[in-house]
Symmetry: C2
Subunit: 151 residues, 2 copies
């Protein structure tokens, strides 16, 4: 007899979401996706938050928040250019989670000079792909109304 | 010069939310609020989820999720009665969090026989009070539409 309800936690994994633009394509644009918190400078992350209209955060507390973040993705510039320093943090997104059932995505930010090239979408695709690979079925996004409007 | 933006992480703590019905009043009803995961039986939690229409979860994965939960509140029966066994789990709610800036409340459940006595509200008040005391300024609730309707 088949169970009448789907059990969370059973291995009912949906396929990972598609990636609309490859890492290789972004590399050609001078952009690289990073998934480790190592290498993120909190001061630079605060600069990015400031540029997109998010409040700056206390640096020590921001470090704790990153440590308690289940997954994150950030984008760094692999080329020096008119709109980026070499290594500059140009995009960021992170997800808190119980590691099993639920995750919430917060702090999705793309530097204004790099908006409208698909970077926000690319970060979301990579972040949700990671969460789906972790077996997490319930993923939500937290965003302020003006953030949604600018996506 | 005053900063033009409010900095998250500064000690700008709002007062904790009011408690509309005291622990003492609930004790007189035979109900006690617990904030430790110790003493929760996962099988009983799954029974509660089932009663309110949530899917049952894999027990081992549910334990991991509880371990990765920042704060939780649950309600146990302190009196044997027609509608409760002594010690029975009658309500539950939990919050994931980065411990600093953001928290999401999930899995708010009240046993049907104990709905409409203010138990859901009481759990939310105690859970959000704890999160506010942790200094977390951004608290969201995840709920299915039918859950909202039955609150």
């Amino acid at each position: 007899m088949a169970p009448s309800k789907i059990s969370w936690g059973a291995r009912l994994r949906p396929p990972p979401p598609p990636i609309s633009k490859s890492d290789h394509e972004f590399l050609q644009m001078g952009l690289e996706f990073m998934s480790s918190r190592d290498g993120i400078r909190v001061s630079e992350l605060n600069e990015l938050f400031d540029k997109v209209g998010f409040p700056r955060r206390d640096p020590e507390r921001l470090k704790v928040a990153l440590d308690n973040t289940h997954r994150l993705v950030w984008v760094r510039a692999t080329k020096q250019s008119r709109v980026a320093r070499l290594g500059q943090l140009l995009g960021f997104a992170r997800a808190t989670s119980d590691g099993v059932f639920t995750a919430t995505i917060w702090d999705v930010a793309v530097a204004p000079a790099w908006q409208r090239v698909g970077l926000g979408r690319a970060m979301m695709e990579r972040l949700t792909r990671g969460l789906v690979e972790d077996g997490i079925p319930n993923i939500t996004l937290y965003a302020e109304p003006q953030t949604i409007a600018s996506c």
